[in-house]
């Protein structure tokens, strides 16, 4: 807990009602969507970049780290304080400052909820493309910090492809713009390293995002397969044929069974896998594209392909996908959600391996993921209260991550490294690679000041944070999905 003097100083910056310091109130801020816990010393809710800057300066004088937090929906412990400090919660900076429809950009504050932006944009016929599954709750500041993805990133790219500029507070309290509204700005692209830096380089106070026109027409297809291999084959064939759907998602048998019990989405309980595929574009061509997708699915063995044309029909096909994680949450008290990417052609092989790992450790594994991107989300339901289960589930998770890396993939496609995967970083990066990344942190002079204990394995950098056994596990809200 923070001492009285610190609280008074923080109150002088942000106002009395914007500082939280009572231990029972702080509990709300000790977690995100993982099982990690860590109490901040105090929480502030600033309303301007100037306030953030003053808080950062105060923290620096007192030798306290600063941890930025959005809505706390992160899936890698990115917003969990590892060493106390002052948490800056951005939810009171949630305004849309400007929508420039003509130039297809918007200037927003970091606390703005992702879906609120797209809702505000719809009357201009525009949208913000990255749609993380928690988009009803997650904030754009958090999206930028984690370089968030989402189902529709297959066609449109992830957060970094949609951010033009950032106003940030640096570790010395300076407020500076990185990038801006216009393209190809001379000098180093400092915006890119900050995107996905998980709050360790700078605190984001304004974001300029790129907007896209809403598609004229959209068709959703649901293809049902008796065998997982057939579904994986359909994914590679669709991508390899040069068809680029807007979204291409896969759900496996265990997921479908859970979904049927919870959502009644009409999935057959005896099928091994379904693919949910969305094509977008001009009225004149989406029909053809949908037809091509259907042909591929049938040729690879789909036993049924359902097509949704109207918003209502499409919504119904998506219902199972959107309800999947919440439904899986009913299977067990706790959950371990994994996130890794493999080359798309390696999906069948890696999926086989994932199920084998589950069998070996005695866990059922439910896969629901962005198949078109090769971005896997194996989910392991388990009971945290059983002794030894957390360790076992972590071991299984590590083996699955290893499978991804061995297939030429990576340890995180969209959830971030956070606290969970620091030690896996060495599987894909050498000491020289990690040291090169650290040079950026040194240049930003943010090392122990902003969100310490994240991303880097312990021997690199400061070295003093050594969190104990960890797991990205938590009982899930009905709204949750990856």
């Amino acid at each position: 807990m923070a001492n009285r003097e610190l609280v008074r100083e923080l109150q002088a910056i942000v106002g009395r009602d914007a500082v939280i310091y009572a231990p029972e109130d702080l509990l709300v801020y000790e977690y995100d969507a993982t099982i990690e816990r860590g109490l901040p010393g105090a929480v502030v809710l600033p309303t301007s970049a100037q306030q953030v800057s003053q808080v950062v300066k105060l923290a620096h004088r007192r030798g306290l780290p600063v941890i930025a937090r959005g809505a706390g929906t992160g899936l890698s412990g990115g917003a969990i304080p590892v060493a106390g400090g002052i948490m800056v919660v951005m939810t009171r900076m949630a305004r849309i400052l400007e929508i420039d429809a003509e130039n297809r950009l918007a200037v927003v504050e970091p606390g703005l909820v992702n879906l609120d932006l797209s809702t505000a944009l719809s009357r201009y016929g525009l949208c913000y493309a990255p749609d993380p599954s928690s988009q009803k709750a997650c904030t754009l500041g958090g999206n930028v910090a984690e370089n968030a993805g989402g189902p529709h990133c297959l066609a449109y790219g992830v957060t970094t492809n949609h951010v033009l500029g950032l106003e940030v507070v640096l570790a010395d309290g300076q407020i500076v713009w990185l990038g801006g509204k216009t393209a190809d700005r001379p000098g180093y692209d400092l915006r890119s390293p900050v995107i996905g830096s998980e709050g360790t380089l700078a605190i984001i106070t304004k974001i300029i995002v790129r907007l896209l026109p809403l598609p004229e027409a959209t068709i959703t297809l649901l293809a049902i397969f008796n065998e997982m291999e057939q579904a994986s084959q359909a994914v590679s064939t669709i991508i390899g044929k040069g068809i680029l759907p807007a979204a291409l998602e896969m759900l496996d048998k265990l997921t479908m069974r859970a979904v049927e019990e919870a959502v009644h989405a009409g999935y057959p309980s005896d099928a091994d896998a379904v693919l949910l595929i969305e094509v977008e574009g001009l009225r004149d061509s989406v029909g053809e594209q949908a037809e091509a997708v259907r042909a591929v699915c049938e040729s690879t063995g789909a036993r049924e392909v359902r097509i949704g044309l109207t918003p209502g029909e499409r919504e119904a096909l998506w219902a199972g996908r959107k309800g999947a994680l919440g439904a899986l949450g009913r299977l067990a008290p706790s959950y371990y959600i994994l996130d890794g990417t493999v080359p798309r052609t390696k999906l069948p092989q890696v999926l086989r391996g994932v199920y084998q790992v589950g069998e070996k450790h005695g866990f059922p594994i439910a896969n629901v993921f962005h198949a078109g991107d090769g971005n896997l989300h194996p989910n392991i339901p388990f009971d945290e209260s059983q002794p030894g289960q957390v360790e076992k589930v972590l071991a299984a998770g590590a083996e699955i991550m290893r499978l991804c890396v061995d297939a030429g993939g990576t340890i995180t496609g969209e959830h971030g490294v956070g606290m969970e995967k620091c030690d896996f970083m060495r599987w894909i990066f050498t000491d020289d690679d990690l040291e090169a990344m650290m040079r950026i942190q040194v240049a930003f002079a943010s090392g122990q000041r902003f969100n310490p204990g994240k991303i880097f394995p312990t021997a690199i950098g400061s070295g003093e944070m050594a969190p104990g056994p960890r797991a990205v596990t938590r009982s899930l809200e009905p709204e949750a999905w990856v």
Binding site: G157, V158, G187, S192, D284, E288, P343, G413, A436, I440
Partner: protein
Amino acid sequence: LVKESLLHNLLESTLDSERVFPRQEAASYAVDGVVPQVVALPATVEEVAAVMCLASREDAAVIPWGGGTAMGLGNTPHRYDIALCLSHLNQVVEYEPADVTATVQAGKTLADFQRHLAEHGQVLALDPPLGQETTIGGILAVNASGPSRHAYGTARDLILGIRAVQADGRIIKAGGRVVKNVAGYDLTRLFIGSLGSLGIIVEAAFRLAPLPRAERTAVVFLPSAQEAWRFVAQTANLSLRAVELLNAVALRQIATVGEAAEDGYALVLAVAGEPTAVERSLKEIGELSRRAAAASLATVVESAQDRLWQAIASLARPSPSGATLVCKAAVLPSQVPALSQQIETTGRELGLEPLVVSHLTAGIVYSAWPSPQDEGVQRALDLTTTLRQAVAGLGGSLVVEACPLALKEKIDVWGEPAADFPLMRRIKEQFDPQGILNPGRFLGRL
């Protein structure tokens, strides 16, 4: 200072002597008139690393060299000892068509790479100037782009990961080969556009795109840039790969299509995608031009399209005589008409006819000005100052991409550093503490 012969001898002991040339044979590797002491042509990534180790030990300044198509870009180098030519690193490292990704070495020319990909109906969706000669590494170093950026963005939107050799010779990788990856800081995009001043990119992995199944080109002639912008605003949903705006001078240079009004503009549209989408888009463009004031429309013969687009992509290249001032302005797309107008007005006042070509929807406006060599530097300086003021007033940036050498002594070709510059300087100091990579050529003479 490094002894010339010493450096040559040391390099010869590192590389095959056939791949090391002394100063006498290095004239074609001059940058802004500065000739290097020695040219090195490493054949492997490890050899690049060995050359950098040596350069770092001997404190020798290195300029990486790809296709040599953009060596006039940047400020005059403070010093220049070794030309590090990457043309021998020209292999496709990994290509799995079904993944629609590929990894390629930095010295491969874009044209070579595209030929390889086209065999599988795929393309790296970048079309910078001089695609025949320009290399992958060169494109990344200057973040080169072309008309296709309308649909595909720039290299930062297509890159998946890189390998690079650092100033001290250590080899690093960043990113990876999969299409979604958020592990660690994004060094990949930081290195793009850094003009080889942070490290030497030796390998890059890209997301590819399927070749469009159909492509047609439409040219709409409009009386003003403003009319062109209004026209484009109505095409948001159409299946367009490129939207280029050419003034009459630019149009005359490619001169394969139609006739432009004396002071009019040509909007050149690449319509690409599924055949039905192309057909529908062309139809709509036709209807829009009938409705637009004083517009006429031409469709380019299919067999002439590729050549036309290559010509457009290379329009704003400095003339081989070097007697040109080329400026690249970046403003908001909606400001392109006003800026184009201002450029034309400035031209008329000076009795000059600038070539103006824009990536309209990206807000990028190139202007190329004839600048006879017998003339002093003053006019180029005045012009640059006028354009810089105009662009600054719009909140944009202006880079002088080519100019008489004397102008480089008077200005920073990248413009004035902004509030983020101290951070850039610290980045440079971290990655190249000795200042041996392209010293002096980048923004703020870093």
